[in-house]
Symmetry: C2
C-alpha cells in the first residue's frame, strides 16, 4: 500500500475498494433475484461466498486495522464531528469483524445463497420439510456468529440482540417490549371493532378487491406513479422479482423491483410506492460527488428508519384519501370500468382494514401484529431452543391468536418471507419500528407544512420529498434511529403517534363518505 | 495456501477462484448491457477495473507461477493428453500475463468501460467527435499492451497479431490474406451479378422488407424458436440490449440478448438464432460436473469457431429454404397477413442478397466484405499510424469501394459496432472465419447426415445439434481452430466450401420458384 497522503486519505481509498466489492455483491444479488436462471444458484453462491470472504478480509485485516488506528491518531480536537463519528462507527465494525472466523463468514454466505434457492423451491412447492434443513443450518451458523461477536459488543447483549445490531443499531429486547406493548394492547381491539362494523358494509369493497387489473395496466400505472415522484431512468432501474426489494448498486445506480400479485390488484402499485420510498432515502443519503459513499455516514442509519421512508410513501401518501381521489380516475379509465364505485370506494380498497395472511399485503392495522408474530418466533428459534420442525404449527397457532386467521398452507404461512431463508434474524422488528417512526415524523412534518391530506390533494409530493431531504435523508449514520427521531421531532420515539393516526384513520374510514 | 493434495488439485482450486472472479465480471457486463442505468457507468467501470486487477494478480502472481510449475513437474509421461494441453495453455497465458504491467491492466479495464459508455451516447447522437478521444485512448493502451506482450509470444508477431491471439489463437496476417483473397476476388462480382438480376424482380421482396412486424409478435416468435431448439429456462435467460450478445455466467447459467430493429422485421429472429448458436456451443463445452469449467479445455477454442456455431444456426438453418417453409405460416398467421406472398417470398426476405450498411444485418454475400473493411481499418489504426479523425472518411470511402454504399451518418458507419468501443481490436476477422468454418463443417455434416435442407425440412434440428455436440463442442481448446477444422473435415480450412455454398445458394434464389 502506497504510504502517501494523510491516514484519512489512505483510509478513504481502502473504504472505496471495500464499497466496490460490496456493491458487486449487490449487483449479483439483484441479478439473482430478477433474472438469474435457477440452475445458476450454486455457482452464484460460490461467487457471493468468494466476495464475502474478500470483504471480510478487507474489513478485518491488520493493514486495515492499522489504517483505522492511524486515522484515529491523526484526529485532532478540532476535527469535524462527521470525521469523529465515521471513525467511531468504523472502529466498532472493525472490532466486530475481527471477532469473526473467516471460515464462518464464507460458510454463512454460502448458506444464505443456498437458503434463498431452497426457499424459492420450497415455497413454490409448499414444502416446509424441504426448507427445514437449510433453515437449521442458518440458525446454527447465526448462533455461532453471535457467540463470536459477543466479545466485541460494547454492552452485554443476547444472541438475538447481537444479530439485530447491523439492522437496528443499539436496539434491545427491553426497548422493543416497551414499544410493542401498546401495539399488542390496542391493535387487536381496534381490529375487532373494525371487523364488527364492517360486516354490514363489506360487500362493495370485497368485490373491488377481486378486481382483475390487467398486468400491463398495473405496469403502466406503476410507471406513471414513479414518473410523478421523480423517477429518473438515467439513475434508476425497475424489474420484477418474487419478493419486492430496493437496492443500491453504486452512488448513481438505484434499483427497485416489484411483482404483480393475482387477486391483489393494488399490490404492485403500493409496493412500487414502498420500494421507491426506500430508494428515495438511499438517493438522498449524503454522497454528493461520491464523497461520502464509502464512509459510514453515507449509509442508512437503521432498517427501521429505512422502513419509515418506504412506509411513508406507501401508507401516509399512497393510502391517503387525497391520493385515492387523485388516482381513482386513472385506475378506472385504464380499466374502462369503475368497480370501486367512485373515489371513496377506491380509497377503501386501498385500506381494506381486514387482516390477511401475508405480511407484505397487510394494511397498517394488522401489520404490527405480523411483526410481533415473527419477532416472538425468531426469539424462540434463536434463544429458546424451539425445534425448527415446530415452526409451521407454532406459526399457525399464533397467527390464529393474533389475527384470527390460520394459513391453509405453509407457502402463505411461515414460508412467505425471504428473510429467514437468507439467515436474516433480527430484521423483522425494523418493519414495525418503521411504522412508528413514519407516524412520528409525519406528525412533525404536518406541524411545519400543514396537513398531509391537503398537500397530497394539491399534488405537492415534491414538498414532502423536500422536507425529508432536508431533515432526514442527509443525516446518514450521524445519529442512530432513536436519536434521529428525537432530533427531528423533539420527542423520544413512541407508539403513540402511530396509534393516534390509526385511530383517526379508522374513524374516518368508517364515517360517512 | 494450504499445501494438500496434488499440485494439480491445488492448481484446480486456484483456477476455480479465478473463474469465479472472471464470471463475476461477466455478470456485471451482462447487467451493464441489459438493465444498468446510464449514470451507473462510472462506478461500474471502477468495479470492473478492480476485478480486472484482481484477475491479473491471480493470473500472474508468483504463487500461481509456482503452482503451474509444480503441476508441470508432476506431469508424468503417462499423463493424459488433456492434462498436458491444459498445462501448455496455462503456461502460455501465464507468460503473457506476467509481461503486463498491472497499472496497464486496470487502466485498460477502465478505458473499456468508459469507451462503452461514451460510445452508447456518441452512437445515439451520431457524434463521432465525442467518441474519438475514448477511441484514441484505447488504441494507445492496446498498443502499449501489444508491446508488453511481445516478449511472451512464442513466435514473432505484429502488434495486431498479438492482440488477435486471445480471440484467434495462432492466427497471422499472412494466413488471413490467404483466406480473405478469394473473398475479395469472388464476392464483388457475385454481388454485382445478383444486383443486375434483381433489378427486374426487386419489387416484392422490397415491400416484404418493409413489413412492420409488431414487437410482441417478434418476441413470441423468438421464444417459440428457442423453445423448439432446446432452450431451458432453468439454465438460460434472455434479455434486450443495444447490441445482441451471448455470455456465460457460470457452468449452468447462460444468457443471450437480442434487440428489435425498426424496419428490419426478421432481425430479432435471426439474431436470436445466432446468439443461441453461440450459447449451444458454450453449453456443449466439456464441463460435465463443472469439472472442466475452470480449465482451458472447458473454453471455446477461438472466436472464429464460436462464430461458426452461431452462423450455422442463423444462416445454414435459419436462412434455409426448408426453414423458411416451416416458419412462414407462423409469421403470416401471427401477422394475420402474408406480405411475403407465400413461403418462397419469405425465404427471399430471409436472404435479401442486397448489400447494406450494417454488419449485423448483412447477408452471407456481403458479410465478408464488411469484415475486410474493418480488418483493413484496424490494421491502419494500430500499425499504420492512421489518425483516428480519419476513421469516418476512410470508412465511408472504403465502404463505397467494397459494397457500393456510403453511410449517411457515422451512427450507421464507423460507430455501428461496439467492438472498438471496448478496445477489441483483432476480433472482427473471426466473424469472417466463422463463415468459412461453418461452411466447411456443414459440408462434412452433410456427407454424414445427408442434405441439410432435407434434415431441416423434417424438423431434425436435434440431429444437427447431436452432430455438433459429438464432433465440435466437446473439443474445447484441445485443438486450435485450424486443427479442429482439419480433424473434423479431413481438410485444411479454406474459403472454397463457403464460396461454393454461396454460388449454389445464389443460383437457387435466382432460379424459378
Amino acid at each position: 500500500m502506497a504510504v502517501s497522503g494523510s491516514a484519512l486519505d489512505r483510509l478513504h481509498q481502502h473504504l472505496h475498494q471495500t464499497r466496490l466489492l460490496g456493491s458487486i455483491s449487490s449487483a449479483l444479488y439483484y441479478d439473482q433475484n430478477t433474472v438469474m436462471p435457477a440452475a445458476g444458484a450454486s455457482w452464484r453462491g460460490d461467487q457471493l461466498a468468494l466476495l464475502a470472504s474478500q470483504l471480510h478480509e478487507r474489513q478485518s485485516s491488520s493493514a486495515y486495522a492499522e489504517l483505522v488506528a492511524a486515522a484515529e491518531g491523526e484526529l485532532g480536537a478540532e476535527a469535524p464531528p462527521e470525521h469523529r463519528r465515521n471513525l467511531q462507527l468504523l472502529r466498532l465494525e472493525l472490532e466486530r469483524q475481527r471477532c469473526l472466523d473467516p471460515a464462518l463468514v464464507s460458510a454463512l454466505a454460502r448458506a444464505q445463497s443456498r437458503g434463498n434457492a431452497v426457499w424459492q423451491e420450497a415455497r413454490a412447492n409448499n414444502d416446509f420439510s424441504a426448507f427445514a434443513p437449510a433453515l437449521k443450518a442458518l440458525i446454527a451458523l447465526r448462533r455461532q456468529q453471535a457467540s463470536q461477536l459477543a466479545a466485541a459488543e460494547p454492552v452485554a447483549r443476547s444472541p438475538w440482540e447481537i444479530l439485530a445490531q447491523p439492522f437496528e443499531p443499539d436496539i434491545s429486547k427491553a426497548r422493543l417490549e416497551e414499544l410493542f406493548a401498546p401495539l399488542k394492547a390496542e391493535l387487536p381491539p381496534l381490529i375487532a371493532a373494525v371487523a364488527s362494523g364492517q360486516a354490514s358494509v363489506a360487500a362493495p369493497s370485497q368485490s373491488a378487491e377481486a378486481v382483475d387489473l390487467p398486468e400491463a395496466l398495473q405496469e403502466r400505472l406503476c410507471a406513471e406513479l414513479l414518473d410523478s415522484w421523480g423517477y429518473d431512468p438515467r439513475r434508476c432501474q425497475r424489474a420484477r422479482s418474487a419478493h419486492p426489494f430496493s437496492c443500491t448498486l453504486g452512488p448513481q445506480d438505484f434499483r427497485i423491483t416489484t411483482r404483480v400479485v393475482p387477486g391483489q390488484p393494488l399490490s404492485a402499485f403500493l409496493a412500487t410506492a414502498h420500494e421507491w420510498g426506500h430508494s428515495l432515502y438511499e438517493q438522498g443519503l449524503p454522497r454528493t460527488d461520491d464523497h461520502y459513499f464509502p464512509w459510514p455516514l453515507g449509509e442508512a442509519t437503521s432498517m427501521g428508519v429505512h422502513e419509515s421512508q418506504s412506509l411513508f410513501w406507501e401508507c401516509r401518501v399512497g393510502r391517503s384519501r387525497a391520493f385515492a381521489g387523485r388516482w381513482h380516475g386513472r385506475f378506472a379509465s385504464g380499466l374502462e370500468a369503475d368497480p370501486w364505485g367512485g373515489a371513496p370506494g377506491f380509497w377503501r380498497a386501498l385500506n381494506p382494514l381486514k387482516p390477511g395472511l401475508i405480511r407484505v399485503e397487510a394494511d397498517e392495522l394488522s401489520y404490527g401484529l405480523h411483526i410481533v408474530l415473527r419477532y416472538e418466533l425468531e426469539l424462540a428459534l434463536l434463544e429458546q431452543e424451539m425445534p425448527v420442525e415446530e415452526l409451521p404449527s407454532r406459526w399457525n397457532r399464533r397467527m390464529g391468536e393474533l389475527l384470527g386467521l390460520v394459513p391453509a398452507s405453509d407457502a402463505e404461512g411461515c414460508l412467505q418471507d425471504i428473510h429467514w431463508a437468507e439467515g436474516l434474524f433480527g430484521y423483522f422488528p425494523s418493519y414495525a419500528l418503521g411504522h412508528l417512526i413514519s407516524a412520528q415524523l409525519s406528525a412533525a412534518m404536518e406541524q411545519q407544512l400543514g396537513p398531509l391530506e391537503d398537500l397530497v390533494a394539491a399534488g405537492q409530493e415534491a414538498a414532502l420529498q423536500g422536507w425529508l431531504g432536508q431533515h432526514v435523508w442527509p443525516l446518514g449514520r450521524l445519529v442512530n434511529a432513536e436519536e434521529l427521531v428525537r432530533q427531528v421531532t423533539g420527542r423520544p420515539l413512541s407508539a403513540r403517534p402511530f396509534l393516534d393516526y390509526l385511530g383517526a384513520k379508522v374513524a374516518d374510514l368508517r364515517g360517512p363518505h
